[in-house]
Symmetry: C2
Subunit: 291 residues, 2 copies
């Protein structure tokens, strides 16, 4: 992973140098985490289902009463523009929108125009070990509130996920799995989670509090196409110990095997056959559908 942002940033419709790309200290994104984001991967200059990312962004904006300044098509065009400005074909893109600057306080009255930012960086995939021998995870102390109205929303009030990721790093794991107030599995700090058990593909349902990931959705589709039983349901953390395979997904990672949780192997501790098929199926889907 190239751990640096590329030089040109799309900021409210203009391309500016990263060093000069700034937002007001009064921006509600900075003051109150009052905004949304999306992360997308570009492969060979093409994006996979960008309209689904934008649809999630729009749903979040509608829920927050945040008026976006550009439509989905314009924002997708801006994603491509940002790639081109940086001469990137294989990249990670981050789109951030906030409610913009406003008067003091929490209230929405008098807030101005939303702030929109697209940043990109060269990206060719997660480090190899995520795919082979596979990723490791810990169970996070972070308790996700499945009753929160913000669960389905990818907001920039993301500190719980930051703290979960820090736990993973402290413990030398790749990812940290969040559980909800009932103790059920929800997702990783930056991934959705799947379990393969008895040939079925299981993933926490949205009522568990997970983010409706675009890659999660693709994996559910692929499982059905493969003729496997696919279920979204509440998954107690004990389900991991009994799982045949486990998978982590996100737009940058694709589908990668989760082989160890809290030091305990998932089944044999090796990437499993269904994981491999789903990962390959996902790559083929991206190659087929990206535009």
């Amino acid at each position: 992973m190239t751990e640096a942002w590329a030089d040109w940033v799309w900021l409210n419709g203009r391309l500016v140098r990263g060093a000069e790309a700034a937002v007001s200290v009064f921006d509600r994104g900075f003051l109150l985490g009052d905004g949304l984001f999306e992360t997308l991967r570009a492969v060979d200059g093409r994006l996979f289902r960008p309209e689904r990312h934008l649809a999630r962004l729009q749903r979040g904006a509608a829920y927050l009463g945040l008026e976006l300044t550009a439509g989905a098509d314009e924002l997708i065009a801006a994603l491509w523009e940002t790639l081109q400005a940086n001469h990137l074909e294989d990249a990670a893109l981050r789109l951030t929108v906030s409610r913009g600057a406003g008067p003091p306080g929490l209230g929405l009255a008098g807030t101005g125009v939303a702030t929109s930012v697209i940043a990109a960086r060269a990206f060719h995939g997660y480090p190899d070990h995520w795919y082979d021998p596979g990723a490791t995870a810990v169970l996070s102390r972070v308790v996700k509130n499945e009753q929160s109205q913000l669960c389905g929303i990818k907001s920039i009030s993301w500190l719980e996920h930051v703290m979960a990721r820090a736990e993973a790093a402290e413990k030398g794991a790749d990812e940290a799995l969040l559980r909800n107030t009932r103790g059920d599995l929800v997702e990783g700090s930056g991934t959705n989670l799947f379990i393969i058990s008895g040939g079925r593909i299981l993933t926490p349902d949205l009522a568990s509090g997970c983010l409706p990931g675009v890659t999660r959705e693709a994996v559910l589709e692929l499982g059905q196409e493969m003729g496997l039983e696919v279920r979204e349901e509440s998954l107690p953390s004990e389900a991991l110990a009994a799982a045949d395979e486990a998978i982590l997904t996100n737009s940058l990672l694709g589908a990668a095997p989760l082989v160890r949780v809290e030091g305990q192997r998932i089944s044999s501790g090796q990437p499993g056959p269904i994981t491999r098929r789903l990962a390959e199926g996902y790559r083929a889907l991206v190659a087929r559908e990206a535009r």
Copy 2:
């Protein structure tokens, strides 16, 4: 309330004009809500217990592993400096710190220097009606997770509070009361909550998920000085209907009567005698202790 920030902003140790006070689009405060804030009131150029605000900030920073670039005394000096630069005596101050800019992603590795911002505005108190006839509140849909490790921390991942405040505004109320996953009362979107019942002063305990407010602490002290029984405990929302009085507190508001919740009067719907004594006691305490 003067609803505009004053011209001079303290940004990482320098005073800059508000229009030029900006942070990088890569600041983790803007990208991930990865930071903390404090709100303080200045009366006659003096601050009430600023060291307690700074202590809370430092506890939050320690928990987040966020390295502050200035000590409490330096930041308190910066608060005064900001007041002076803006020729303000009666003011609201907001101190925001974020983890600063860093490489892409959630991880903390490679993050740079924290960003610190102090903004001020003229402030002479909440609108009169908050004190007389008293404030109104609704019960928010927002469910606060009392199991979250972030409950005691005043982080800038504050979107749930923004959404609760929006609910209050939509319904024409002054404040929205948050409940936790057990259905117990927690706090208002920007206030702590007290109930007076049978001569006792009750407030949600920290295990309920509320913020340990500096004004909350002062009101607890004042209640004890007044010889009243003071209890921090879990408060079911039904406790409001049975309350003799209810109070909202924060550093800008002081202590104000909450007289109506969801359209229902608290007792007579008038500011009560204990509320008045606590509000006066608080004003006297501020006058005595501010420095």
